[in-house]
Amino acid sequence: MYSYIFRRLAVAVPTILILIVLSFMLMFAAPGGPFNSDRPLSPTVMANIEARYGLDQPYWKQMWDYTVNVVTRFDFGPSFQYRDRTVNDVISQGFPVTLTYGFWSFVVAVIFGLALGIMAAIRHNSWLDYLAVGISIGAQVLPNFVMAPILVLVFTLWLGWLPGGGWNGGQWEYVILPVVALSTSYMASIARIMRSSMLEVMNAGFIRTARAKGLPMYRIIMRHALKPALLPVLSYLGPAFVSMITGSVIIDVYFSTGGIGQFFVNSAFSRDYSVIMGITILVGVLTILFNLVVDVLYAWIDPKIRY
């Protein structure tokens, strides 16, 4: 197992490098640059701007310089759009925000999702099953950009219980609404996958044996059914966690939390290459890490899986 983990981490390094190269190529292929504006710049000024950010050099050199900087000094360069910030500033400000509400959304989604899924599977085809399914579909089906304004209308305007946005350093009142808005759709997906996978497991032979033996349902679930049923959920959790973390852009936009999702979208639109690259690499590292965690968990749960 440890050698497997080590091998995966070793492979991660060239993966990130390839990611950098790919992202660079994509970015330069896109039309428009960071310094277009309503009022075109004089050629000298433009030349100066490009020199300042190294945009006048051949692509391969830009890529090389950038990669060296990142790998040796973790320096992601200056932001093209925000003149007084570096990418490190942007990420170090935005990432904790996204991480906080992403983490809590994840926790909420997993707990409630698993609970709902298990309940629905045990009481298959009963009113509880339909209710759980109904709730979970309803929650998933309501898109973020409908849920978010509804939440704000209800809790900020009509009830006045919670602030309508902002982050304020992460005080709990500001975290609640983003977490609710973000977790609901993932909770629903987790519930449904759990339910269907649980149903499959519950129909398996060894569960029938356990029931025939007279084991209480609680023990059957916790000791026998849960582990195998978790497998498809796990496959889903890895990328789901990353996408939750990298921030639903809609959450950032509606609640003005200052998370990196919003920065990423703005940067893509304004062609702020360095921020795009910085966040892309961040997402890449997270994805690889979490996929590794998921794969390890997979092997732990199903001893038949060998790497």
Partner: protein, 543 residues
């Protein structure tokens, strides 16, 4: 009553009177209104601004913050007229080429240093210096400063710019041609002074709250990008005792409907009104919904180069399209925010400008439609001729979409012209429009200073903002003459007539600022068409 009782009673009365005086807080020195205890102004901005370094800033939100944090030579009062800023006044030489500004001796930076003419010299050179890479460097050229063009082209060094500190309190500017509106241009944020020592010490980080040094009524206390920025009273400001608002908070809220919800929940004091909502809000909240003119015009650029469609090269087609737009419907039924229909380019509220009478403006819409159909027939397109389809390009926004959809429909119903609507996100849109990669493209132009040439200049042949690539020698000649003329209005009128006939752009409407403003906020400069507002001029009264 016994003496003791009387004493007690009067003592109590005095105490109550005193405490009453404490709780009554201050009253406004001029109007006598009772001021609110919490003098905080919270407003919404659409997007995080790229910079609020005066020489690097480029957008409206950045400008609002800069006007509070720094102060330039002159300020604008509530009506948009000049009033003294750091400079107490100025004199102009006889040939109108040399301006001499006298600075006040009480102006100080937030760290105690006095503001001197050298600060202005440094700032203006910095703006023109290609190394600074300012996106507003062209403004220095616009001001016709001596050697500005050469410096921008990299041919001369920045210290040859036509600015000089005669002594600590005298700042002298030399320009290459007389500009009647030159003094007005010193209210623009690119010309604000910046503290040289701070910039040299901290480099790009000098605008951080812990490093920043500014000379305006406020200092930056907090800045969290994409969330909020906070500025508080600057006790070093020379006019500090007249500043009433203590703290100004700018919240970034991307979605305008969300912003309105939060405004109604009491979290904001000011926000923009979404398109189409103004009449209803004006009815429900008559004291809070405001609409007043804003110095910007909205129009459609027509691609007049060879890459543009052949039909649009025919001036009759352009005239027909322009006349078929029912601007009253757009202004009343789509936007409904107090905007004004536009048949010419320059904003109607521009100082010293009168909107010329254009034939199309005087007709009724039925007459215009009839004339449009006739023109289309003559040109050979539309319902009675060859089918015509045009593409309308606009940048992503609900309001632009609504306008484009409406105009497309009008053309279809009246002229039988089909339209496809293409929206692009901002950067792609700018690229396409700047490279004439479009047929019709939406555009909005805001005046850089309160005078008509700021509008008409954009359709002159040499203008970098002439996205239509329109070229008319008569118009160019008129504008050159207008720069030095004592009475440019007739020249502008002629120029506008040319625009209205040739239609390189299809004017649609003139902007209005449409806000929800907390009625506790007083003294908002509703008459300032450029909407240069200063937080130190407004105050909050007690409810």
């Amino acid at each position: 009553m016994s003496i003791k009782a009387t004493l007690l009673a009067s003592g109590a009365a005095v105490l109550i009177g005193l405490s009453g005086a404490v709780y009554a807080q201050a009253t406004h020195p001029v109007s006598g209104e009772a001021l609110a205890a919490d003098q905080t102004f919270t407003y919404r901005i659409l997007d995080e601004f790229p910079s609020f370094d005066p020489q690097l800033a480029e957008d409206v939100s950045g400008g609002e913050i800069i006007r509070d944090l720094w102060e330039g030579l002159m300020n604008q009062d509530a009506d948009g007229n000049l009033e003294p800023g750091v400079a107490t006044g100025y004199t102009v030489s006889d040939d109108k080429l040399v301006y001499t500004f006298t600075l006040r001796d009480t102006a100080k930076w937030s760290n105690g240093d006095p503001v001197t003419a050298n600060d202005f010299v440094y700032a203006w050179r910095r703006a023109a210096d290609p190394v600074t890479a300012s996106e507003y460097a062209w403004f220095m050229e616009l001001m016709s400063l001596q050697n500005a063009s050469e410096i921008l082209a990299g041919e001369m060094a920045p210290d040859t710019l036509g600015v000089r500190a005669v002594d600590d309190l005298t700042f002298e500017v030399t320009i290459t041609q007389p500009l009647p509106y030159f003094a007005q241009m010193t209210t623009h944020f690119t010309t604000f002074p910046t503290h040289q020592a701070t910039i040299e010490a901290h480099g790009d980080q000098w605008t951080r709250p812990e490093n920043i040094v500014s000379n305006g009524a406020y200092v930056l206390t907090e800045h969290i990008p994409a969330e909020r920025s906070v500025r508080s009273r600057n006790p070093m400001y020379w006019d500090n005792e007249n500043t009433i608002i203590e703290t100004v908070v700018a919240l970034v809220i991307n979605d305008e409907n969300q912003a309105l919800t939060r405004y109604l929940a009491g979290e904001l004091d000011r926000t923009e009104v979404p398109a189409g909502q103004y009449p209803r809000l004006a009815e429900e909240y008559p004291d809070e919904a405001l609409s007043f003119p804003l110095l910007c015009s909205y129009y459609y650029n027509v691609n007049l180069t060879d890459t543009g469609p052949e039909a649009l090269q025919d001036v009759r087609v352009r005239q027909a399209l322009s006349m078929a737009i029912d601007r009253d419907i757009i202004v009343n039924n789509v936007l409904a925010g107090g905007q004004v229909p536009a048949y010419t380019l320059t904003h109607w509220a521009t100082a010293g400008f009168e909107v010329p009478e254009v034939a199309a403006a005087a007709m009724t819409q039925e007459e215009r439609n009839a004339a449009a159909v006739a023109l289309m027939d003559e040109a050979g397109y539309g319902t009675n001729g060859a089918p015509l389809s045009v593409e309308i390009l606009y940048n992503t926004s609900e309001a632009h979409q609504s306008v484009a959809v409406a105009i497309g429909q009008m053309w279809k119903q009246t002229l039988g012209v089909d339209s496809t609507l293409a929206n692009q996100e901002w950067q792609t849109f700018l690229e396409a429009r700047g490279n004439q990669n479009y047929e019709l493209a939406r555009a909005g132009w805001c005046g850089d200073y309160n005078e008509a040439s700021t509008f008409i200049d954009i359709v002159t042949t040499g203008s970098g903002y002439n996205d239509s690539k329109f070229s008319n020698a008569d118009l160019d000649a008129l504008m050159v003459e207008a720069k030095t003329s004592d009475d440019p209005l007739p020249l502008y009128t002629q120029a506008e007539q040319i625009i209205a006939t040739e239609l390189p752009i299809l004017p649609v409407y003139h902007y209005a600022s449409v806000y929800m403003l907390n009625d506790a906020i007083q003294n908002w400069p509703v008459n300032n068409v450029q909407q240069n507002w200063y937080s130190r001029d407004i105050y909050k009264i007690a409810e």
